[in-house]
């Protein structure tokens, strides 16, 4: 290892001492130095004789020497990020050229792994978003703002639940074992999860997409890398920014439920249909006194309030740059009592201690509280429960004991748990504290050489508390629940990096070399406990808050996880005259997840770019201002699917027998390899009319081999699955981004941007020659059951189920085998694939997929004097969503039409059967006779159809699978900037007021809350693309103010 270091050091020093000689000959020779405003030499600036290919670059001292053909030749000095200077060769000004920073050009810097590069000179595929340019709308999570704004990145929100993180996918599905989410790197610290940062503190988000960009992160780069750079101070006057906004939100697209009359008519039809077919005489119980209660209204907010404010102060001198900020974001949820509040603070200091030493300190703190309700719970699921309660009852009433209180399930006649009780009698909150700190030094002993040792720590502390009162009749007395449950988990990560870089120029070759070493260790400790519940009468009062208040304490989640990585990496970047660019990088990762003798993986990558527009043979005065070709190839890896202890055969100390502790045998050591992707990318960057119109097109192909999967094994092994490297998959896609500054001169300015990504994923091979694996259903049957398949040649997330072909209109149309199972006119017709006259598992077919083919966005910014109008749209095409909330695969849901019932005890009447409510759409549209409906079947009680686990009419079929394509007008913002002269008068830099409508309009065929939803975030999971019926997305109206001092 030390040899490696020695080698690297020697290599760097050898390159460093190469003479930066000038090869100029004959004619007049111009000599000089190039410095920046602060007097520091500018290394690698390009010095050319205008109109020729004659040129050189500045040395580490900023010096240059160029032989020009004649004394009146014009010498051009340019450097990325600075304004180009042109002087006559004989001018004395050339002896010392001062380059001024070009604010516009500085925006064109992109962050790459362990360094930065000019966007113009990048040879790999990187998308970059400057956060200040983003119209944030109502979102708190900056990751949501990537949607539609960058190519190749698709964002799916799990729900409208405040505080829930979206899932991000870069360039398609890269894994079938679990994690398809990218690696996040915040100011140099890597993390698998996206950390809490206020969007106002973010300078830029750079998404590394191709292997040439990502391979520097080696074993965690398969799914792309998202680099987040926070804001820094800059030299000059101290400025204070205040951003504040407040908004009100309402449900954007509601789902209407049947009213009491519609409900009674539907259930009466179900009872009648049942009685006719079963020759029975069941009666529907209808109470004499009936309300028309809005159950969903009773648990939801009519208007939810969101707010966001951030104050930052930044500035600097020659020695010190600083940035500090504090922010508060609050968001109320759709469900009453749910909310998310986030408080953030951040400081960044860069201190120039000596000419050769810079000290950087970067700290942040984020605290958040999320108040939750049981909506993802597949048993309590408050929104679904509220929808399906009988509308003729209200939430409160006189109880059995004469007291006034919540109506109770079954005992008071309610067929579901009282949702108002569910949200009021359980307090559930998660406090999260995230602390991050980085100390790094930039040591520059020799010009061009920089050594950056850095140490970073990142801690996340979670405190989760769940409290029930004794009025919570669903859980307060049931086994396995506690009056109070506390969980305190923390994770800690430290990263110790050493990066040495050197850059210099030889003639027109600008080169940079970087080598580095990194150590990273992650630990995760879970610790929790819970008390007795009210059944044991052990918890005296719901107003107490410690588990010790109970008689007994039980362990909650107690666990420990850890891994470490040790890595070596390096990169060589060569740039010949801003025309030919070559990059090569290599990373070697060693992971504690592998056996000792097999730890290291190697991830090489390379790329080339040819900037044709800088060629001397290209005419200068044409419309074409930029033309760049890029090619890259490389390998990356993933270890997300490998458990921390996969390499060990373990005996676990868990469980007990007869109050004595026990050991159980765990999974035997597995011989696993990294998932490895080989990726290729070809791209063209174009600019016209001095870059007024720019376009960028990329094609990529990637192939992932040795994909990890929980491979099904014979039960005799003692396991049902064993994680193995099994198959291969490929992704390919095209990405297009076009940006036009349509009007740049004059009072009216207009920028218009468009981007679109097309992606196609395909499984190439699975288990030992097997064609397909039907993805096992996971969790509650109400999520849809078995509905996905992994099949060769098909995309990951392919739907696999019965095809719904409409409704049988006449009894004669029903095949005999189904007729014998009770199927009649008015019931669902499924495609009989094998033609055997019956509907069984063999009839399931491929039915599209849950990931889109196309997605993208449109951004328009118009400006007239102080007025600004911004419009942002996003779209997605080609994916399908499973509307599980309608009642697929089980006896619940708003289209159950009579199947969903409960035995209740109606006070004053006695035991009877009651039925769940249905949607208005189902109540008004169900089949009532030949020709009346071909989409919604007849109402029917359970027990008529035989031969299926759940009812025949609710089989997992395309009846519930809907097109999730959409076009969204996401935000419209109208802003006004106060005139400069007013500002000068009150010594301010600017005031901007704005009004935004977020989630304005959504064009989609989907009739749920929002087509962008998924119960699970992993595309290979059984519940990916499932809409379970969680909190809806909201439409928000926001007023905001930005003040700059």
């Amino acid at each position: 290892m030390r040899k490696f270091w020695l080698f690297c050091t020697v290599a760097v020093l050898t390159v460093a001492t190469m003479p930066a000689s000038a090869f100029a000959q004959g004619g007049m020779t111009v000599k000089g130095v190039v410095v920046d405003v602060s007097g520091m030499p500018v290394v690698g600036a390009s010095v050319t004789e205008q109109g020729t290919s004659n040129g050189t670059m500045t040395s580490p001292e900023g010096a240059f020497s160029l032989a020009v053909s004649k004394a009146d030749a014009v010498v051009e000095i340019s450097f990325i990020g600075y304004r180009t200077v042109a002087k006559v060769a004989s001018s004395a000004d050339l002896q010392r050229v001062v380059l001024e920073e070009d604010a516009q050009a500085l925006d064109d810097v992109v962050v790459i792994g362990y360094g930065t590069a000019s966007k113009k000179l990048v040879s790999s595929s990187i998308s970059s978003v400057k956060m200040d340019d983003v119209d944030k709308g109502a979102d708190i999570d900056p990751m949501k703002m990537l949607q539609g704004r960058v190519t190749g990145v698709s964002v799916v929100s799990a729900s409208g639940t405040p505080g829930d993180s979206p899932s991000i996918m870069v360039r398609g599905v890269s894994s079938i074992s679990g994690n398809s989410s990218p690696l996040y790197v915040v100011d140099g610290i890597p993390a698998e999860k996206y950390p809490a940062i206020s969007s106002s503190d973010i300078e830029s988000i750079d998404i590394l997409k191709d292997a040439s960009a990502t391979a520097i992160y080696g074993s965690r780069a398969n799914a792309g890398v998202v680099i987040i750079t926070t804001k820094s101070g800059s030299k000059g006057r101290t400025s204070i920014n205040v951003d504040a906004q407040i908004g009100i939100s309402q449900v954007a697209n509601d789902i209407r439920m049947a009213n009491t009359d519609e409900y009674i008519r539907t259930m009466q039809a179900a009872v009648d249909n049942y009685n006719v077919q079963m020759r029975q005489a069941k009666k529907l119980y209808v109470p004499a006194e009936r309300a028309d209660f809005d159950w969903v209204g009773a648990i939801s907010r009519n208007i939810a309030i969101t707010s966001s404010s951030n104050v930052s102060i930044s500035g600097g001198t020659d020695k010190l740059l600083f940035y500090a900020s504090a922010g508060v974001d609050t968001q109320q949820g759709y469900i009453a009592n749910t909310s998310f509040n986030k408080y953030t603070g951040r400081t960044k200091f860069n201190y120039k201690a000596a000419k050769w030493l810079r000290v950087n300190i970067n700290t942040s703190i984020a605290y958040s509280r999320q108040n939750k309700a049981e909506e993802t719970s597949t048993s309590l699921k408050v929104i679904r429960t509220a929808r399906e309660e009988q509308p003729w009852y209200t939430a409160y009433g006189t109880r059995d004991d004469g007291s006034y209180g919540y109506l109770q399930m079954t005992q008071s006649g309610l067929c579901r748990h009282n949702p108002v009780m569910l949200i009021n009698e359980e307090k559930w909150w998660i406090d999260k504290l995230q602390l991050q700190g980085t100390l790094s030094l930039d040591i520059m002993p020799v010009k061009g050489l920089k050594w950056t040792p850095s140490i970073s720590g990142y801690g996340i502390f979670d405190f989760e508390t769940k409290k029930l009162t004794e009025k919570h009749d669903a859980r307060a007395f049931n086994t396995g629940w506690a009056a109070i449950d506390q969980q305190k988990d923390h994770s800690f990560r430290y990263v110790f990096d050493n990066v040495v870089s050197y850059e210099n120029s030889v003639s027109r070759l600008h080169y940079s070399v970087m080598v580095g070493h990194s150590i990273e260790k992650y630990t995760y400790d879970q610790f929790g406990m819970y008390s007795d519940n009210y059944a044991n009468d052990a918890y005296p009062s719901s107003s107490l808050g410690l588990v010790t208040s109970g008689a007994n304490i039980y362990p909650g989640n107690v666990n420990f996880n850890s891994y470490a990585l040790e890595s070596y990496f390096g990169r060589i970047a060569l740039n010949w005259d801003n025309r030919y660019i070559v990059n090569f990088s290599m990373r070697s990762d060693g992971s504690s997840r592998f056996p000792k003798n097999n730890r290291f993986g190697y991830f090489p990558a390379g790329s080339v770019a040819w900037i044709i527009s800088n060629e001397p043979f290209m005419p200068k005065d044409t419309a074409l201002s930029e033309l760049k070709l890029r090619l890259s190839a490389g390998q990356t890896g993933s270890m997300a699917g490998i458990g921390n202890w996969a390499a060990m055969s373990l005996i676990s100390a868990d469980g007990s027998y007869n109050e004595s502790s026990a050991y159980t045998i765990g999974t035997a050591a597995q011989n696993l390899k990294w998932e490895k992707s080989t990726k290729y990318d070809a791209g063209v960057d174009l600019g016209f009319w001095n870059d007024r119109l720019t376009a960028s097109v990329d094609y990529y192909y990637s192939r992932t081999d040795d994909m990890l999967y929980a491979k099904p094994v014979l039960a005799t092994t003692g396991y049902t699955t064993i994680t193995s490297n099994i198959g291969s998959a490929e992704n390919q896609g095209v990405e297009l981004a076009v940006n036009g500054r349509i009007f740049t001169e004059g009072a009216f300015k207009w920028n218009l941007g468009f981007n679109m990504s097309w992606v196609r994923s395909r499984l190439l091979s699975l288990l030992d020659g097997q064609e397909r694996i039907v993805v096992k259903s996971s969790g509650s049957n109400l999520l849809g059951g078995t509905q996905h398949v992994l099949q060769n040649g098909q995309p990951i997330s392919t739907w696999y189920m019965y095809r719904f072909d409409g409704i049988y209109q006449r009894d004669e149309d029903v095949p005999a085998a189904l007729y014998a199972k009770g199927v009649r006119a008015g019931d669902c017709k499924y495609y009989d694939r094998d033609g055997n006259g019956d509907i069984d598992e063999n009839d399931r077919v491929l039915c599209g997929k849950a990931t889109p083919d196309f997605f993208g966005g449109i951004t328009s910014n118009m400006r007239w004097k102080g007025l600004e109008l911004s419009i942002f749209c996003s779209f997605s095409l080609g994916n399908k969503v499973m509307a599980a909330w309608k009642g697929v695969n089980g006896g619940e849901g708003v289209e159950h039409l009579g199947i969903a019932s409960a035995e209740v005890n109606v006070p004053g009447f006695g035991p009877t059967t009651q039925y769940f409510n249905v949607s208005r759409q189902a109540a008004r549209g169900f089949w009532r006779g030949e020709g009346t409906s071909n989409t919604i079947p007849r109402p029917l009680l359970a027990g008529v159809h035989t031969g299926y686990t759940y009812d025949y009419n609710v089989l997992t079929s395309t009846r519930y699978l809907e097109d999730a394509s959409y076009f969204k007008l996401k935000t419209i913002t109208l802003a006004y900037n106060f005139p400069e002269r007013w500002m000068k008068a009150c010594r301010m830099q600017g005031i901007k007021v704005f009004f935004t409508v977020d989630n304005v309009f959504c064009a989609t065929k989907y009739d749920g809350y929002d087509p962008e939803t998924s119960y699970n975030t992993n595309p290979a999971h059984s519940n990916y693309g499932v809409d379970f019926g969680l909190s809806p997305s909201m439409r928000s109206y926001i007023f905001g103010l930005q003040v700059k001092f």
């Binding site: 290892m1 030390r2 000596a354 030493l357 399930m409 079954t410 007395f477 049931n478 086994t479 396995g480 110790f496 070493h517 150590i519 260790k521 059944a535 362990p555 107690v558 666990n559 420990f560 996880n561 850890s562 470490a564 040790e566 504690s592 730890r599 060990m648 055969s649 373990l650 005996i651 676990s652 100390a653 868990d654 469980g655 007990s656 027998y657 007869n658 109050e659 004595s660 502790s661 026990a662 050991y663 159980t664 045998i665 765990g666 035997a668 099904p712 014979l714 039960a715 005799t716 092994t717 003692g718 396991y719 049902t720 064993i722 409960a902 035995e903 359970a942 035989t946 686990t949 759940y950």
Partner: protein, 447 residues
């Protein structure tokens, strides 16, 4: 100042190398670190696993034996004897058998080279538990793969006769190793003999069955009051009728039986089928005043089964005896009354009638008028009635009807006799191939 540079350079070299080796879990040890001292804990682990296994299999015989109807929290029980190779519960039962065997075989392998008291107890426990798992498999599927150790290689299905031989040989092996105590929470000779008696009954070796059951009977005594018998299923209980029971005194991850038949929130799964609530414990010819009615049923609610008392919540407490800790009640696997029934069944009508009467004397107010059944069919009817009265809610019925070949007693079976052997899960056949895993007869035509 450049000295600092060298110091930092030095620092950079530190911390490399060892970091990847130092990562280890806290809740587990590697197999290499297991010592002889750990055998006791590993034995506990097997019994812990058996608690889960036994509870998973618990209701099969009742549900499929048609003695249950659906409770308020259960979908309609329709055609309960029907199974197909794709029935999820068939696969999950198959899988839980082998999951338990992994622990058992692991214990056997760890104890094989040791010989202390802990090792002896480990071996006795392992052989007994392996036999108990295979007993459950043999009575369901008949033909199953015999897994003698931890392996990932494919093992073909063996015929039922070989499986029974394996069970009996394991039990005889268990008898060779001494037990550490007499508590029915651990494997004793009585437990082994009781299971041997049941196994011999299935294989038709009636003389051995009677002899083994007789051994157990002679060393234990019956209870005679409903209260004391009902106490068998209360927290920490080891009544004198308990031959083998799993303690189930977990502090968390509770295994509970009561929520399935007598829950407090009104959503239990099963109640007595049809008119069993009224007819099961009714007086019969020569047998009057069955004390066991109070153990199973309550007058307050005809849809609950109170055998596993649900605690002491006064609002919803349908229970006969008080249970201090309903979530930690023992899982009673073998009870003495079964030995009387096994012995009586093995001895046949003439010899067995006397054995049966000894049991019934403790179960009825009066059996003085009970006469020996006139023929073997009536004798079987009497035995089956007593099995049901004694073991209602303990998963017996389907197995008893199958063993005595009284399929006429099933209401929904019809002519589908093939259903008396469970189907080999299609999931497993798909992986192993039908040569190694032939499907049990009768199922091909239904798929």
């Amino acid at each position: 100042m450049k000295k600092i540079l060298y110091v930092l350079l030095g620092l950079a070299m530190v911390g490399c190398g060892k970091i990847l080796d130092d990562i280890a879990p806290k809740g587990s040890i590697t197999t290499g670190n297991l010592t002889e001292k750990d055998l006791g804990k590993l034995t506990n682990g097997v019994l812990y696993t058996m608690e889960g296994f036994v509870s998973k299999c618990w209701w099969d015989g009742d549900v499929m034996g048609e003695v249950f109807s659906e409770g308020p929290g259960q979908a309609a029980l329709v055609d309960v004897t029907l199974m197909t190779p794709s029935t999820p519960s068939v696969l999950s039962r198959w899988q839980s058998c082998f999951t338990a065997l992994l622990q058992i075989n692991g214990l056997l392998e760890s104890a094989s080279s040791s010989s202390g008291a802990a090792a002896e107890n480990a071996k006795k426990t392992a052989y007994f538990c392996r036999a108990l798992v295979y007993y459950n498999m043999a009575t369901r599927w008949g033909n199953v793969p015999i897994v003698r150790g931890i392996t990932t290689s494919k093992i073909a299905i063996s015929p039922a006769s070989d499986v029974w031989k394996f069970i009996i040989s394991d039990l005889n092996e268990a008898l060779k190793h001494p037990a550490t105590g007499a508590s029915p929470f651990y494997v004793t000779d009585n437990a082994v003999k009781a299971l041997l008696a049941k196994a011999y009954l299935w294989t038709g070796e009636t003389a051995q069955a009677a002899s083994m059951a007789g051994d157990v009977i002679s060393s234990m005594n019956l209870l005679s009051s409903a209260e004391s018998i009902a106490g068998t299923w209360c927290f920490g209980s080891t009544t004198q009728e308990t031959v083998f029971s799993l303690a189930n005194k977990r502090s968390d991850n509770a295994i509970t039986l009561y929520p399935s038949v007598n829950d407090t929130d009104g959503s239990w799964n099963y109640g007595p089928a049809g008119d069993l609530y009224r007819s099961l414990y009714a007086d019969a010819e020569g047998r009057t005043g069955d004390i066991r009615r109070a153990i199973s049923f309550t007058d307050e609610n005809e849809k609950v089964i109170v055998k596993f008392p649900n605690g002491d919540d006064p609002a919803s407490s349908y229970q006969f005896v008080k249970n201090d800790d309903r979530n930690r009640s023992p899982l009673v696997v073998l009870r003495l009354p079964e030995m009387y029934l096994v012995k009586a069944e093995a001895e046949g009508r003439t010899a067995g009638f006397g054995t049966l009467k000894k049991l019934l004397e403790t179960r009825y107010a009066d059996i003085s008028a009970l006469e020996m059944p006139a023929d073997d069919k009536a004798w079987e009817d009497l035995l089956l009635d007593e099995y049901l009265r004694e073991f209602f809610g303990e998963g017996h019925r389907w197995f008893d009807l199958k063993r005595m070949n009284r399929l006429d007693k099933f209401k929904t079976l019809g002519d589908r006799e093939y259903l008396m052997l469970w189907p080999i899960p299609q999931n497993e056949i798909d992986m192993a191939g039908s040569a190694a895993y032939p499907q049990n007869p009768g199922y091909a035509k239904t798929e």
